[in-house]
Amino acid sequence: MLILIPLLPFIAFLINILFGRRFIRDRAHYVSIPAVVGSFILSVGAFMDVLDGRVINVNLYEWVISGSFVVPVGFLIDQLTAIMLIVVTSISSLIFIYSVGYMHGDRGYYRFFAYLSLFVFSMLVLVMSNNFLLLYFGWEAVGLCSYLLIGFWYERPSASNAGKKAFIVNRFGDFGFGLGIILIFLTFGSLEYLKVFSEAGSILGQKTSIFGLEVETITLICLLLFCGAVGKSAQIPLHVWLPDAMEGPTPVSALIHAATMVTAGVFMVARCNPLFNLSHTAMTTVAVVGGVTAIFAASIGLVQNDIKRIIAYSTVSQLGYMFLALGVGAYTAGIFHLYTHAYFKALLFLGSGSVIHALHDEMNIQRMGGLKRYMPITYWTFVIASLSISGIPGLAGFFSKDEILYRTFLGGGTGKILWVLGTIAALMTAFYSFRLIYLAFHGDFRGSEEQLRHVHESPPVMTIPLILLAIGAIAAGWVGIPSIFMEHGDRIGEFLAPVLGRPEAEGAHSTEVMVMTLSVIVSIIGILMAYIMYVKKTDLPERMGSALRPIYTMLYNKYWFDEFYHVTIVRPVLRASEKVFLGFFDGRIIEGVVNGVPDLIGSFSQRFRRIQTGLLSSYGLIMVLGAIIIIWAVIFSR
């Protein structure tokens, strides 16, 4: 039965891709939606199965056998996987339904649903795998799907570039990830989770030497695995693909940011917690990368004007929070945030899709405004999502984000610094979220007359998913209420404890209240600042922009990461390829020798040819001379 969870979307993919163009066409959703909803129902069943602490581990068949290297295709369903299954399938179902409206009339409608289904399949394999190699399969397969979907409108050069970029940047991360898997095999002799994790403790102190360095094996393994997570979950320095991924249709963005793909890295690190727990260095790295990314991405989000890009940077930042949590050992908090984030982030994207749809592909918030009147459902659900992400008490985001900040605060010296970063990022989050709302939905409309005439609320097939997600954005956090409010309120923490363990340090209640109060205050300040700048004193942003020109330019240009990579990686590779390797090495040196030898022989024979004059007298002369030399040699050599 459980095998059907990933298999249903895969079958939907096959049907749509093979028969879509000729036969199914705009009926593709009749294939894909039942499949993914079916997966959802089965996932709920799986969730029920593991509710009492059971773990399901089945091997289907041996995938690869080579010498001592034996890897099965098998599935592991424990509490962590169950949560991921629910998140992935529930969000995907809503996004699929929404897409019926959003993609209506697109020439590649069938293709779109085919790829979406493949995406869900890949992600389900990723979370259900019971070994690292199958995890890697899902890992690369979601990369492929993101490539296909980001570049869905392949006629646009920007879209096909973005798709390619996503794939290749991810490959950089996978480079480390793959090596990490190899090192795990060489260290433990197996790739199956349960075996590796149960023996993890035994390799403490073991060293590996590579490129002349002596490194602790466990640290090396964790850091290599984390490389993969940095790529897939778009953390510094491999975050550059995610904002460009906005070139894909909006439901794809929602899917990538909420349910599939970017959460994979967080899931993987949480899954490998028995390994990460053993390496202090790796944990600190995870926490620092997460904390820095959280504030870094949020700062870029402050000044962007593309509605989807703002939300994209918000995702990068929120993922940073999740890694921050994982890095301080609060795995449950990280997964909890992954789960609440899925709802409000999907909602934000689908809401922005609704806006873009209404305005005929307008994405610049400077050319929006006053949409509140025309699209009330979109507006209100958007507000709920923004309040939730800002961490306003009672909403989903509040509980998970607070848990993270609290756990970080408890995490010693580094923890305190990271907590400051996280809190500033929270301020920025509230600010950019509401900057977006005020610019897009309040004030007067700043777009064209033509656009204004056509502005409309989206059809129910799109708004109903919005409403359902809004409910999630409000209520999803209620499974993790801190104990200061309710005894045994942290149900998700209890549920996940068998897999992820419990946080070690418990602080005083007063500390928790202090951290919480501070973050709420900070969020409210952020919202107020946005209100003042974009509703009250609308000339203020302009003035601030020119006063802080260098900072503004730096943020607007995203710290010039893309330009940096272009100069240091892309251009050198292309130049070296053309000039050094092909032109000089292959062309001059090797081909020089290859063509040179025959030429040399040719020129030699040209010279020697002259000897053959055809004149009998000269041949005779040479013969006589030769005979004299031989005779002379014979006589005198004695």
């Binding site: 891709i17 163009r21 068949y61 041996e62 995938w63 690869v64 056998i65 080579s66 010498g67 001592s68 290297f69 190699l133 890697y136 399969f137 890992w139 690369e140 397969a141 492929l144 490539y147 570049g151 392949y154 006629e155 646009r156 050069p157 096909s160 570039n161 390619k164 794939f167 290749i168 490959r171 950089f172 996978d174 480079f175 793959g178 090596l179 190899i182 090192l183 095999f185 060489l186 590579i210 490129f211 590779v573 292309l574 070296a576 390829s577 053309e578 390797f581 092909l582 032109g583 090495f585 292959d586 090797i590 081909e591 290859v594 025959p598």
Partner: protein
């Protein structure tokens, strides 16, 4: 003969398989009409597959010994025998050769319209020679087949090739011939040192003095390295691949360049184990250079066929890297990757050939937005692109992963460097795909409004290859099973050591010989 099992089938199955195409070639001399010639060639190649099938079903996977053996005296005064047989390493290549031969006939159906009879005769002769190389257990026989491959391929390139076909054909011929000559010297030396026999199995059982091993290893190495081709003797390959007709490129990439790697497996490693271990680090370095160098050069290519040709240099670098890791993952990954490369690169050449028939251009810049025009073609091209960059679920992944695992085990740093090739591979292949199928509409598209999608014949040609891409990707054990015993035996052979192991000790040893 104690290294060989008897023939478990009662009849000379290998002889029939090998010489059936030759028989077909003779038959073609008496056939008139292009269509008839095509059908008969197709029939003969398909029949070869049917004849060879009992090899699969009767193959004994539990022994490393040679199977389906036939042995007859040929030139007894010289110790030369007609001696054939296969083991777990060669069996898969027999089928790769047969399959690609069938597909080559199919893809040439319309592309070849001049000198049709001669073309098909050359193809069939080629098939016999290639199969002969894989089954020979006598050096003389082996060398005859090895050299016999050169001539039909030389003709295929030189007659039915592209613009610079003559240059490419001569370059190919001289390059490989130069390599083979040294091998011939090596064989003669072996004959005298090994008790005046040319029996490959006998010769493999003798332990030669270390220094002799080294010289012989190098003599054979040159021949095989040119064939693979390894860096820096790879420059014949882009010219030959690019100028060859589609069928020629498929055979060249699919089978011919596997001969070098096969030579390492069949001769270099078992006969010169000490030299193998001595030289392995050098070859590993050359392999990694080939992987990265080949991949980097791809970025500068403007011609699709040339790009795929250079990518072969990179992929074959993985093969030699795996083989000279000298452990089971590396060797099995290397052998599997040889198959994979035959399937995937073969398919990519088929695909380029198919589109060339319609547009008469191989220049990447002439293409663009072809996904709209020929969606099925684009989809299938995508599958092979993904297989080429080693996406899990396709055959490329299994091979590359095992190779890197093997390399990492024995030469850690080089395993890491080789993995860079995977990033680069994704780069050049996806960039190629983007330029051909996405973004701007090209001049060729605008000028040719009616470019047709795949027809039935072309789809049938590609289908088996697609099947293998996923079969090997999802259930590689079907194929790995055949190799296990033979590969284990090979590892045992190379690791039986009575000479010191470390590099420094080797140096002392050489000093001692002097």
């Amino acid at each position: 003969m104690n290294n060989a099992l008897m023939n478990q089938l009662g009849y000379p199955v290998l002889t029939v398989t090998v010489f059936l195409p030759l028989f077909g070639a003779i038959l073609l001399l008496f056939i008139r009409g292009k269509e008839a010639i095509r059908w008969i060639t197709l029939l003969v190649t398909t029949l070869t597959l049917l004849v060879a099938f009992p090899l699969l079903s009767n193959f004994n996977k539990d022994t490393h010994l040679m199977q389906f053996v036939e042995r007859h005296e040929w030139l007894p005064s010289w110790g030369i025998n007609y001696f054939v047989g296969i083991d777990g390493i060669s069996i898969l290549f027999i089928f790769l050769t047969i399959l690609l031969s069938i597909l080559s006939v199919l893809v040439s159906w319309r592309a070849i319209d001049t000198k049709v009879r001669e073309f098909h005769i050359a193809m069939l002769l080629m098939e016999t020679a290639m199969l002969g190389v894989f089954v020979s257990l006598d050096f003389f026989l082996f060398y005859v087949f090895w050299e016999a491959m050169l001539i039909p391929m030389f003709i295929l390139i030189g007659v039915w090739g592209g613009k610079d076909r003559v240059y490419a054909a001569i370059k190919f011929f001289l390059y490989t011939l130069a390599g083979s000559v040294l091998m011939l010297v090596g064989i003669v030396v072996l004959y005298f040192k090994g008790g005046e026999t040319l029996n490959i199995l006998e010769l493999s059982r003798i332990r030669y003095p270390f220094l002799l091993q080294c010289w012989l290893f190098l003599a054979f190495f040159v021949a095989f390295a040119v064939k693979v081709p390894m860096f820096p003797v790879h420059t014949w390959l882009p010219d030959a691949h690019t100028e060859a007709p589609t069928a020629g490129s498929v055979i060249l990439a699919g089978v011919l360049i596997k001969m070098g790697a096969y030579g390492f497996l069949r001769f270099s490693i078992p006969m010169f184990p000490d030299a193998t271990r001595f030289f392995a680090p050098v070859i590993v370095v050359l392999s990694v250079v080939a992987i990265i160098y080949g991949a980097l050069v791809c970025f500068a290519q403007k011609d699709m066929k040339r790009l795929i040709a250079y990518s072969s240099v990179s992929h074959m670098g993985f093969v030699t890297l795996g083989i000279f890791s000298l452990n089971s993952q590396g060797l099995e990954g290397g052998i599997l990757q040889m198959l994979n490369h035959g399937i995937v690169t073969g398919a990519l050449f088929l695909l380029v050939g198919i589109i060339y028939e319609r547009t008469h251009s191989r220049m990447i810049a002439d293409y663009g937005r072809f996904a709209t025009l020929v969606p099925w073609y684009a989809g299938i091209f995508m599958i092979f692109t993904l297989a080429s960059i080693g996406l899990p679920g396709t055959n490329g992944f299994i091979g590359e992963f095992l190779i890197i695992l093997g390399a990492f085990t024995s030469h850690r740093e080089f395993g890491v460097l080789a993995a860079i090739g995977i990033i680069l591979g994704a780069g050049y292949m996806l960039w190629l795909y983007q330029r051909v199928f996405f973004t701007h509409q090209s001049t060729v598209v605008r000028d040719n409004h009616e470019i047709l999608d795949l027809n039935k014949r072309e789809a049938i040609t590609l289908l088996p290859l697609i099947l293998f891409v996923f079969w090997i990707g999802i259930h590689p054990n079907t194929f790995l099973d055949y190799m296990h015993t033979s590969v284990e035996h090979l590892i045992r052979q190379v690791n039986i050591t009575d000479t010191p192991g470390t590099f420094a000790e080797y140096i002392n040893l050489i000093g001692g010989y002097r």
